[in-house]
Symmetry: C2
Subunit: 649 residues, 2 copies
Amino acid sequence: MLEMLKKFTVNDGFFGRFRKLVTDVVIPYQEKALRDEIEGAVPSYAIKNFELAAEWQETGHCSGEHHGYVFQDSDLAKWIEAAAYSLIASPDPALEQRVDEVIDLIGRAQFPDGYLNTYFTIKAPKERWTNLQEAHELYCAGHMMEAAVAYAAATGKQKLMEIMMRMKDNIYQHFITEKAPGYPGHPEIELALLKMYEATGDAQCLELAEHFINVRGVDPDYYVKEAASRPGKVWGMDPKDRAYAQNDVPVRAFLVAEGHAVRAVYLYTAMAELARRTEDRALKDACQRVWRNITQKQMYVTGGIGSSAQGEAFSVDYNLPNDIAYSETCAAIGLVFFARRMAELFHTGEYGDIMEQALYNTVLAGMQLDGRRFFYVNPLEVVPGVAGVVPANRDVLPVRPKWYGCACCPPNVARTLTSLACYAWEEGEDMVWSHLFVGGTLDLRDTKGVTIDVQTNYPLKGKVVYTMHPVEETASFTLAVRIPAWCEGVTLRRSGQKIYSRGMGTPVGDPIGDGFAFIEGPFREGDTVELSMDLKPRRIFANTHVAADSGCVAFAYGPLIYCAEGVDNHNEILSVRASRSLDPVMVPITEGPLQGLLRMDIPGYRLESDDGLYSARRPRAVPYTVRAIPYFAWANRGENEMRVWLPEL
Amino acid sequence: MLEMLKKFTVNDGFFGRFRKLVTDVVIPYQEKALRDEIEGAVPSYAIKNFELAAEWQETGHCSGEHHGYVFQDSDLAKWIEAAAYSLIASPDPALEQRVDEVIDLIGRAQFPDGYLNTYFTIKAPKERWTNLQEAHELYCAGHMMEAAVAYAAATGKQKLMEIMMRMKDNIYQHFITEKAPGYPGHPEIELALLKMYEATGDAQCLELAEHFINVRGVDPDYYVKEAASRPGKVWGMDPKDRAYAQNDVPVRAFLVAEGHAVRAVYLYTAMAELARRTEDRALKDACQRVWRNITQKQMYVTGGIGSSAQGEAFSVDYNLPNDIAYSETCAAIGLVFFARRMAELFHTGEYGDIMEQALYNTVLAGMQLDGRRFFYVNPLEVVPGVAGVVPANRDVLPVRPKWYGCACCPPNVARTLTSLACYAWEEGEDMVWSHLFVGGTLDLRDTKGVTIDVQTNYPLKGKVVYTMHPVEETASFTLAVRIPAWCEGVTLRRSGQKIYSRGMGTPVGDPIGDGFAFIEGPFREGDTVELSMDLKPRRIFANTHVAADSGCVAFAYGPLIYCAEGVDNHNEILSVRASRSLDPVMVPITEGPLQGLLRMDIPGYRLESDDGLYSARRPRAVPYTVRAIPYFAWANRGENEMRVWLPEL
């Protein structure tokens, strides 16, 4: 998966916009935040903490105190990771030098025995490994390992990798050699260790990842015992809330997705990756069970997961309230991670479909179109004066804040949007899998003797053209192109000749199995594979068990879920209704921050109700065209009403 | 108002059932609860606390500790009040003797200076009046004053009245004579003092009530100062949350209903009563503003108020979620109190309409049909497995519990249902106002020289017949009969002759003004006034600003709001839809706990959706008759789905 970072060069009109934003705006902004240089913002202290930890290593004492969350180190790690990905596409020697300096600082903060964590250096030096449940020690290590892998991939520089290999050695010594009990409170290191293994082949990385996955929940009382004996506490979490902590049963016994949503999907991501590497049937089955539970019972139509604000957690099946949705940006990102590993594990199209659903909707919604504000919580209905105000709706904000005290989401968006290559593509022995439709150039000369040029304006248009440029006369491999399940009208042409068609004129070819079309080589210079998807507006209906969506319809165009905002609809979203029969039309947006996107004009009605609270008179329905925009672009024009699910009339 | 307690004898088929339950089941059950004699229930300690306080008065020390809430005394007070009302209709010498003994005990617990409160006797004897915000001292006094008034009215016995007059003297001494600052954290004593004034004419009662109303919010920092100086705390409430405590502004400046809902309506009740007695224009205006805000912006269709579980509070305009509704039973009762005073203050029918809406729906829903279980929270949508389980829905229970640690609601229902006479009737100088349609006999021989016999099967049938029995040959007064605004078809006959009709054949008579028909005397023996209301099922539509009710309709029959329950609908409430055009029909229920009530069969559909979470296929609509029952009778047949607002199709 990681090899795609340098093999695929994105030159996509749609994602190019976001990539550029991350490179030009988010990464510099976040660097300032980490250096406490943003006036008026709460200082991060993330770099300052490393400076203090380095001082401690070098002098034996600290001139200051640790500040910020117990997981503050991870903010710096995610920034390094995003910067690394950005450097691949946009070389920037000055940035690279600053990252090098930060890595030097990190190295100086490391203990001689390899241990690295500023909180446990400055604040609680005697409490290493005593509070796995709350203290995010392994989580911070995991993020720094991901950063190390990314920076090595981007620059070839190994220093951070070496630092984190020493930290891995320290962890290995403690948990494997010395047989210390326990497992991470916030899963993350498992998937990071598997990335380290992928990048280096170091067997201990695989062994350690497998260890943390295997021991989890085998002793479901581990946190209870830990809480009874540990010297300090961070938040005072309930150690007996085992389902919340995903340690009620061993992971292979998981039946449904439960607990803190981000922790869950980070763990499932590692489980799926490990299952693939070890061909572990029980682990595969557990992954499929939680996958099905998430996507068939607990996922918003926007690809958001974790509906409960309390605990940032999964709820129960079908409990998907729109106005008090939590749907954390990081959880949708974690679902993309999980989906990508599942795609590689099972090779059916549904994983790419869900990856796309989460990415194009909730993940993108996490960032304002100018890259300067971010959502942590992604509701599907917002009423100003209620959202962020009424206690039950307090976590749901109607506009993106500039930053967060707990700033996990913004850099998570940044690192995801700069590493799209990993999610778009997968390479097998004789296969090339196209999971996402992103324009760019895929350089597979080393492995398949071919360069594939991808031209597309997706998701604004439905055409994707893959043009082959073999190094030799021909290149022999099979191109597997995902055919989205949501797409009714599909045509596939090979060098102009229709080889498959459904829903667009006379059907051609056999039904496509497992969500992929397989186009076998050999390919010659200029050979094309052209996928045409009919992106006409489509209606989505929720299962009737979803109480919040009763009587409602959602609209989509391609992978993009649409929503109606007050600013386009006389601030009367609550009174608009969608026609049950008339079809929407797409209209280009020619001005404002949404310029270049497509508006959806949905035939419908505007209700005129009496002034009173209740009335015997049915509200008068006046024909009205509801103007909808892509969900990811909501809240870019000030505070206003928003709804994804529209009542039908 | 209180004089009606003995003047009106209820013999109503509908309310008779509830009255009997309260007398036969609730009052004895609650007595056992107060005496800690219910096995398996949390002990109340309410009587034990008084025994300990009496011991303290008599010996100077206590052999035990105070238990229960700081307002535990009020549970005993409300029980005495309910028992008193019950004794009027159902004399019970044994019960009366036990109440007398309890009153003796209360008297023994009183300080020589008149002060009475077990918490501040046993637990915090040096902290009298130091924590008005939290400690419910004046609240408990108010409830015991209401009990004293009720018991004197019922039995003529004055002992409790004398006890509470001494307590009033003590309060007067502290707040008036000694000019102590402050006002009650939980309003209640204001309305109680006005009842004391009504019962006794004691001017200090009126003065003290007026004082507490007038000083409230004049110093909006009173609680802040108190919190800074008080020796102890009860809950640690935020003294700066002034709108929550209804002390942000003086009461005459109230614009909207805010804060804790029960506190608010108890305060508004006293404000309306005081405004009537003092003809205070500014106070009247404030009452009308909060009334309009409640009934036109913040009230559920069931008459429930206070939608926010956090703080048991009013929310913002139109924020009326159904599945996380709080809608406390006590708040609906308080709305009945407020409405009754507003009716007497302004004499328009809307107040009786709302009184009826709250009483027949949320207040009655507060009690199981067998009188043995009670709701504190009254949702308008329940999904088992979500209600009471998912954190956001934790306060919403799908079945009534047996009792509560904080048991304010059950005795509140009991005292309300046993004092219906006060709410049904009002007597003016030349007027008799019929606010509610309750069968029984109104003995006005002393004042109007007439007995009025009321025959009705309301709300099952729409006919109400008032038959006059003058003492002399004629009786001269005007009978004002409320004509519900929701009723489209009304006919009024005087001794058989149609004097007014609307919506039922040819209109007769002038439009009725202000929601009342006025039938002037003189009346002779056997003269009748017959009101016929067409109780056909009716649809109710919410204002489009109510997000939770978008696309939905509610159904009512007379004053009864209906709901659909799973037990009558194959446990498929979320998939049923109401027809937009076909009309429901009423069907008698002939068996089970709802026997004698009317079911509403609503033509509609059952949707069959795909198994998946989302689908492009519109769920298939199969014709289906939705069976609905009166809202107050829900959750009498086990845990199951319930919905008041049904999506239309």
